[in-house]
Each structure stands twice: as C-alpha cells, then as structure tokens.
C-alpha cells in the first residue's frame, strides 16, 4: 500500500490509499483539537449529535434507514484523546460498488452523506435541535456511567486521572458529566463552528476507486470556512516524585492493581521505538516477562499487561488478582522491571518480540481498518513511515537501547480497587 497525501485547505489533508483487495471502502474525517476542560465535553456531545442526523436526513431513523439501504453502510463517530489532543472522528464505510445488487454507487452517496453530517447538520437558526441534543446528552451521560460497569476499564481510567491530576492528560476524553449538563443547543453551535475553524483535519480514504468526488466535496466545504488551525502539543513529564498510592473499595470478587510509570520519552522523540519494544518485552505478548513469570510461574493472575502510550510517554501495567495477593503481585511486577534495568534480557526475548511486532505491523495491511489505523496513528508525527520502514526501525533497536528505556521508567502512581477487608 502507499499513501497519497494532499493538502486541500489550510490545515486540511486528504490521504488516499487505493486498494482493490477489499469488498468495502472507508472514508473518515478526523478533527484534532487541543484537549481542554472548557471544550472537551461540548466536542464529545457534538460528535454524537452530528452523527444522528443532518439537513438531508433530519432524524435518526431516516438516516439509519438510508445507511441500511446502502447495504448496511456504517456511519460512526468516536471521541478519543491522543496525548493531550482530542480527536473527533466521523467515518463512513460501506460495500464497494462492485457488490451492489442494483448497481448503485455506494461510494458517491456515502461521501456526500459524510460531508453533509459534518458541514450541513440539522440546525434551527444558530442552534442545534433541542430534542437531538437531549437524546445525545442522555446517551453520553450513560456512556460515562457505563465505564464504571467494567472494572478493568474503570481502574485504568482512575489511575490515569490520579496520576495526571493537574496535567491536561488528566481530563477524560468526554470531559465531565457536569460540563456535559451545561451545554446548550446554542453553545453547541458555537462548538461546532470552532471545531470546523480551529481543528487540524485529516481525511482518510481507503478503497478501490479514485476518491475524486470526495476530494472535491470536502475541498469546497473546507474552503468555505475561515480556517485557523491550532497548534497541537502534549507535555512530557519525565520524572516522578514519591510514589502516589490510592486504594478504593467496592464490592468486587477480584481486586485490580494498576501501576503508572513515566516512560521518559514520547512523540516526536526517536526514543519511542525502544520504549515500545521494552514495554512489549515486559508485558505485551504471551512470552513476555510478566506473562511467563507473574502468570505462568506464580499463577497469580489471568492477565498482567504492560502498554506504552507514545503520545503521552507513560507506561501502564494492569492486572486482576486475589485481594490477599496484591502485594506479592506488585513485588513480582517490580522485580521483572528491575531485571530489565539490569540487562537481564535474552536474545530470544528481543528477537521474538521484534517478530511479534513486525507480524502485527504486516498484518495491519490486510484490513481496511488496519490500514486506516496504521496511517492514523502517525498523523501526529512528522511524515509517514511505510510498514517496511517501520520494521527496519524496530529491527535496528539494540539491547542497550532497550535497557536504557527500562532505566528511564519512573514509577509514579499505584492504584488498587478492592473489596472491603474480610468481605468475599
């Protein structure tokens, strides 16, 4: 695969990957803005409202029926944070025109529809429709509450919040329930105008046919906006003070342990590759140190995973464990890290982890979403690497660099979610 990238307006890029192997096409618009307490909630709510309806299909049922009639096409939105940037993504995917039963052009209709939901939403004067806003507000509040339902997700989110209190990264991707409550149909209209004006926009197209029509509708739409794209930046914190410890109790049968570390490097620095590899050797595969020792040898847990966030430069290790074994697990995890710092990493561990990472890179080329995320994950970097180039970079990492990456780790926060003492 190869990417064709062109600028179509100030801070707006159209990225094309032509590929005939797939039965579907996908077009996504990714809008990047600085994460902030003032705007995070309104942007998250906006994402939901935009995907519900538009001028052409002014209610949810009409829009859903249109999509389904296009052979089950999907229109999805997501709201995420990459480091200290909030990303609102709206995407449309559907069958390639070759498979239409009645020879319709699905791609043409979908690009028009996607442009419509972003640039021609369902408005009443300078405000969104009240009922639509209320529906999405309710659902967004539900979504925030539902994150507490899944204790693994909840524990990780709490740890990040506590570790990064006072940093922009401590803000949740949807902001807060309180802020969501204060958004009005008119303030949402302002948020929409600001998002179109201030975001950095990256449009991704993956499909068989040429996206000429999509390029022209989006070029026209964005050129009509007075574009003032803002600068994007994430603060890297490299040192940690005394370890912060938090324990919360709730009626669970399994305790959760989440440990947060400063990794000492993040985008756009070169050190991210060694940090990612170090983290995978520690706890990213079924032959990682944590899997082999903490799970297999000590039988302490079912999962114990380490992941590196290259945008913010932190490492998170999380596990589910019997309440009485929390301290044993914590010691077990720290011992594996200590070993890595002391250079106890075998050639086998390095080579097999490199192969596992390369396998996942190469596999990503075989799905539409894989290709999309391959490039999307590099949108915040300077320039794009092909899969081959990324494999070369991984292969070039030396043991010394991995050990150095381990030695940059600073334990910052330990969060435990567990039962009241004595309860079962």
């Amino acid at each position: 695969m190869s990417l064709c990238r062109q600028q179509i307006a100030e801070g707006v890029y159209f990225n094309t990957v032509r590929d005939s192997r797939f039965k579907t096409m996908k077009l996504s618009v990714n809008l990047f803005v600085p994460l902030s307490e003032q705007t995070a909630s309104a942007n998250a709510l906006l994402a939901g409202v935009l995907s519900r309806s538009c001028q052409a299909y002014p209610d949810f049922t009409a829009l859903s029926r249109k999509l389904s009639a296009l052979y089950g096409a999907d229109l999805t939105v997501s709201c995420n944070k990459l480091g200290e940037t909030q990303v609102i993504s709206v995407s449309a995917s559907g069958l390639d025109d070759r498979y239409a039963l009645d020879n319709e052009s699905i791609a043409r209709e979908l690009s028009g529809l996607l442009c419509g939901v972003i640039f021609a939403p369902n408005l009443v004067g300078d405000a969104f429709v009240t009922e639509e806003v209320e529906q999405e507000r309710r659902q967004l509040l539900d979504l925030i509450d539902s994150e507490y339902n899944d204790k693994r997700v909840y524990a990780i989110a709490r740890m990040i919040e506590l570790m990064c209190t006072g940093e922009v990264f401590g803000i949740r991707r949807y902001g807060t329930a309180e802020a969501i409550q204060t958004v009005t149909p008119a303030s949402l209209y302002e948020a929409w105008k600001n998002l179109l004006r201030n975001s950095v926009a990256e449009i991704m197209y993956i499909g068989d046919s040429a996206p000429d029509q999509a390029i022209s509708v989006f070029t026209e739409a964005f050129r009509a906006v007075d574009r003032r794209p803002c600068a994007l930046h994430s603060e890297i914190v490299r040192e940690a003070g005394e370890v912060k410890r938090f324990t919360e109790t709730v009626d669970v049968s399994q305790a959760k342990l989440v440990m947060g570390f400063r990794a000492g490097t993040a985008l756009p620095e070169k050190g991210i590759t060694a940090a990612a590899l170090m983290c995978a050797i520690l706890g990213g595969t079924a032959t990682s140190k944590l899997f082999c020792n903490v799970r297999e040898k000590q039988s302490l847990c079912y999962y114990c995973a380490a992941r590196y966030d290259k945008y913010k430069g932190i490492v998170i290790i999380d596990s589910g464990v019997e309440g009485e074994n929390i301290e044993k697990l914590e010691r077990g995890i720290l011992k594996e890290i200590e070993d890595m710092k002391n250079g106890e990493i075998s050639e086998f561990e390095i080579n097999s982890t490199k192969m596992a990472i390369i396998n996942s890179y190469q596999s990503s080329n075989d799905t539409v979403s894989g290709i999309e995320s391959w490039y999307a994950s590099q949108l915040m970097q300077d320039g794009f690497k092909s899969i081959e180039e990324a494999c070369e970079v991984i292969n070039a990492v030396t043991k010394e660099e991995i050990v150095a990456a381990a030695n940059r780790l600073r334990l910052d926060t330990i969060y435990v979610l567990k039962n009241q003492e004595g309860e079962q």
Partner: protein
Amino acid sequence: MNKTEIKSLRAGDSYYKLQHSSGLTIYVYPKEGYRSSYAIIGTKYGSVNNCFSVDNGKKITVPDGIAHYLEHKLFESAEGDAFTRYAETGASANAYTSFEKTCYLFSCTDRFEESLEILLDFVSDPYFTAQTVAKEQGIIGQEIKMYDDSPDWRVMFNMLENMYHNHPVRIDIAGTVESIAEITAEKLYDCYHAFYNLHNMALCVSGNVTVEQVLAICDKMLKPCEKHSIQNYFEDEPDEIVNPYVEQTFPVMMPMFNLGFKEKPVPLNEKKLAAIDVLLFMLASPTSALYRELMDHNLINNSFSYELFDGPGYCSVIFGGESRAPQQAAEMIKQYITRMKTEGLDRDDFEVARKSVYGDVISSLNSVSAIANTVMGYHFSDNELFAYIDAVADMTFEEVSACLSEMLDVNNCTLSVVKGSDTEAADE
C-alpha cells in the same frame, strides 16, 4: 482424498473443502494479494458436552469448565509451551472455548508452514500431569473471578439459568472455582481422547495460502485416526422457561438487561438462519420503529443489541443492553412483537433489512480471521457460508413473515436485570 471447490459469483470468492485421509476436514480460503494467513483448528466440543460416552462405552460425567481447562492445558507439552514455539516464528496465537466448540488459532505474515506444524503438533499431543494441572487452578480461578465481576457476563448467565431447567448451556463456560478443583489429569485425558478425534475436528485456513501448502503440512503431521462414535447426553429440557424475571445487585452505575425468548432447539439451515437474521434486523436494528420508540422514551441507548443464540439442544433470541428502566424496555419490546405478529411486517423494512444483512456478510469477507471463524462455525452446524449469502440475497418477505409467526413467544421469555444498589443508581 476428496476435494471440492465452493464458489460464489456474488462474493467473487471461492474456497476449497478437503476430506483428509487422517479423518480431518480441511477448508482453504485463499485471499489474493494478502500478506497474512490465519489458521484455526477446532473440535466440536464445548462447555455443554459434560456427559458423554464413546462407542457405546461407559457414560462419563465430567466437572463443569473442563473443556475450557483442557484448552489452557493443551498448550503445554513435555518440552515446553506452544507460545514459546510460536515466538520463534513470529505468529500470534490464541485459543477459545465456547458452548459448543474449542478452537486454537494463529495468524502470521511469514513462516506459515512452520506455524501450522506447531498448531497441528500441540493439538495432537496432550501432556497433562498432576503438577501442570494444579498450576492452572490459580490462573483460571482469576479468569472466573474476572467474569464474576463482569455485568455483561452475569446478566447473560442469570438469564440462561432462568430460561433453561437442565440444559448445560446454563452453566458458565469456565465452570466455578469449586468445579475446576475437581479436574484431574485423568479426566482431561478422558475428554481429550473422546473429542479430539480428527473425525470430530476441522481446520480452516484463510489468506496468503494455497491448498498444496496446507496439504503438505497436514500429510506430514497428521496420522490416520480411527473414527469412533461420540454420544452426548442431555437431560430432557422443557419448552417452557424457568422464571420470567431475575435481578442481581451489582456495583454498576448503568443497569443492564437481557431479554431472552426461548425457541425450539431445531437445527437451522442457511435459509432459516438468513430469514431470522433479516427478521431480527427488521424488528430491532436502529432502522426499526421499535428502536426509535425505545430511544424516544429514553429506555435504551446505543449499546442496545440483539442476537440469535443457538447450538446443540438450545436456541433463543436475546435483546439486551443498558437501560435505566429495564422492565419498561422489556415491556415495550414484547408489545411491539405482539403488534407485529397481528399487524404483519412492513415490505419496505424488509427491503432495507435484506440489503443491510447482505452488505454485512459480504463485508466480513475482507477479514481472514472472520472468514476462517465463520467457515468453522458453519462446518459444525452443517451449513455453508456461500449458501447463506445466496439465501440472504434471495430471501422473500413471505419467508420472513412465516418465521415471525413461529418465533418470539412473548409468554415464554425471561428478563434478566443487573443493577446497582440504590446508592449507585436510581432505577424506575
């Protein structure tokens, strides 16, 4: 050896079915231009097969959760574990146990043959000792406890327990901490020898592969296996549900529900499956009047979903999701179904649903993992993927209407609710 090509003009794809001399059924679905390959081997043996005999021998009853336990332990051999061997080839490996099957899989972009050898080798080479069995207790014990804390999992099993009187589908796939304590190496061998017979298994490979490549490895690795007959015993299951309502208090802020309709457990062919898929889409997808009504009354959010849940000796239709008022949501679903049964379905809805279900299945053929898993599932239920695609494309309104009249009895359903204590959530 018997080799059949299965083609679909609509999908523009074809794949091969082979009956290998060892007894194994093999499917190869090449994907042109793909770099990756995905292989999965499965046995028709899952958590529901807890009482069986072989060749009319002694009836054996085994502890709950043993199929899943066996899946964990099969990765080990006297020389070490399979993950370490895969680490040499770079493949990404995994396994899963469901109600009706156990599967082992890997995906790779290089050294496919070596990885396939590893897969076929460890699956045909059980190694269970008292020590290795004991070691797994802690790991699976934590897996069970993780699921005990999962409201989605609990809300479903509470529903199944209140829908099925006797059928083992009501039992958690992983068993309980107590039941797995009864598992021994000997019992694992009993199950292994009964169900891991190549005649009871299938291999599906998709992606950057050829029939010749797969066959060469199978010829090298697989020894002919004597066919035996497996008898599974299930207690008689009444047609009626056990209880119409069950509730559990849980540390959640968003209450959840599953509304399950108990259906007759008859085997479903491609046509019937297609009709049910189109019907459920018409009734409950985001395009439906029901979905709109539930949303307008704030009774669901976009976590709402539906599924046909069927396997050997059980069949049900489940509607579920998060709701702040699950009982009202369930009532509205039942009323809507009753109304559709009397007033009849809408022809426009049918056309929208048929195209959408068709689009979804064609889209799934992009993915090597989706292909291999689907082909495996169809193999064990005696169906075929492309026949299903044709059945969707050729579906008629009348067939779907007939389907509705036979299903979804509003007097034979169970509502399961998981909700927070009053301090965590206000409900109704």
